[in-house]
Subunit: 265 residues, 2 copies
């Protein structure tokens, strides 16, 4: 048993979709969240920069006593998780493997589509994760960068969103996938439009799987928090004009007090 | 006469649309361009951060001998130009006033629409600039954040782009503006779709006006470069996967060698 918090970081506030799921599954755990809003988005940055930012973020969470690290950012997980693991002594979970495992559990035909930002898809991190677990499946990746902006604009069911989804997903639909893996923190918000376009197939939102995997880990390692309602402390590296409005959309509850911190400067 | 370069900075590579126009009007001038790609976009950052970044960028260009500074970023111009002017001893031009002047020249009805990112529109910088020059005009602002992502995705004439443009511009069209001012480096790329939606009105792309204003300034101050073909040196604070492809779309020519520099860390 361990009262220390779970540390979660993301390039911005999209990772609050992961926090939302963790709080559902592990309501008694304290959480410290760091959103690196001063340097977002990571998806357009170089691998070197993302690695450096990920290490700085991890260091900050460890300085807040984190007993377990969650990399809630797909770009960071894609290129930096192995390096973060080498630098820290607590368990580290990313957002890629839990989703991959779940997709392999639910697929019947073995034809799986993955959508994410350009960096996540082109990094090859998903192909690698699938191959490591089961190399018989057929995985098709599609980068959908406009989905991020559409979610931040709040256009979740605008006709343009539907049109963009049809363009992005056409290839996956033609390929006859039976499972769609959502490889970006923002994409669960688009579930209604994705279902409209792709119809009756399996949808995997990794956020939920991260919570489940972590719950098992904490139990195995005896790291659970025994208390009552867990707290949530949110730190951001920059406070932009509309971060609260967007953040609470992701978190599904009030964000409470948010502190600004400086990293890497 | 002065052989030193003109220094231009932007949060990313969108400012190359401004460089393109400067090179048309002042082909003999040497240019040093700095794109702060490691910290883009500025439009979602706080005012304090944008001011700090703008000062660091200016300092870098001065260290490269800049005789004249161009702030090619609308977010920086909106919130930081007065502070940059206080900190440097060379002339500084932004992207807001030259466009405002041109819009006031061409409008007949005095009803002018301005489009830009959320920060640019909400900063009130345009209203202020219009009021300072001619307070009889009626200015309507509309933030169009999705336009930036659509340009970066290269979807310049996709049906979704048209649909998004119709949604964003509806209010301006209903208001009966006779002049549309493009307040973002990326937007000139969308000119065909803007014209389709808004029809036969005046369009002002500030990039061109910046070049014209600067040509007059350099002549007045005796700062012109007397030589032949000017050089272009490009510095970026991060090299992302597809910066060349997007950058050359903005610049309209090959980018040549690009150097990476670190700022503020």
């Amino acid at each position: 048993m361990n009262k220390n918090p779970i540390g979660v970081f993301d390039s911005g506030i999209g990772g609050l979709t992961v926090v939302k799921e963790i709080r559902k599954i592990l309501p008694q755990e304290n959480i410290v969240y760091l959103g690196d809003t001063a340097r977002l988005p990571y998806g357009t940055k170089s691998t070197d920069s993302i690695i450096q930012f990920s290490l700085e973020n991890s260091q900050f969470l460890l300085s807040r006593g984190a007993k377990y690290l969650v990399i809630a950012c797909y770009s960071s997980t894609s290129v930096a998780i192995d390096i973060v693991r080498k630098h820290v002594s607590v368990p580290v979970i990313g957002v890629i493997r839990p989703g991959v495992k779940k997709a392999l559990e639910v697929t019947k035909t073995g034809k799986i589509g993955v959508i994410g930002t350009t960096l996540t898809i082109h990094s090859g991190a998903y192909e690698k994760a699938f191959r490591e677990i089961d190399d018989r499946c057929e995985v098709v990746g599609r980068s959908c960068p406009l989905f991020v902006s559409l979610v931040e604009e709040g256009w979740l069911e605008h006709p343009a969103t539907q049109l963009i989804a049809e363009t992005y997903l056409k290839l996956l639909k033609d390929d006859g996938i039976d499972t769609l893996l959502l490889g970006c923190t923002h994409f669960p918000m688009l579930m209604p439009v994705l279902k409209k376009v792709m119809g009756d197939i399996n949808y995997v939102d990794a956020s939920r799987e991260v919570g489940e995997t972590m719950a098992q880990d904490l139990e195995k390692m005896g790291l659970q928090h025994p208390g009552e309602d867990g707290t949530l402390a949110i730190y951001l590296t920059d406070l932009s004009m509309n971060f609260k409005e967007i953040g609470e959309r992701f978190l599904g509850e009030a964000m409470g007090d948010v502190s600004r911190v400086s990293l890497g400067t």
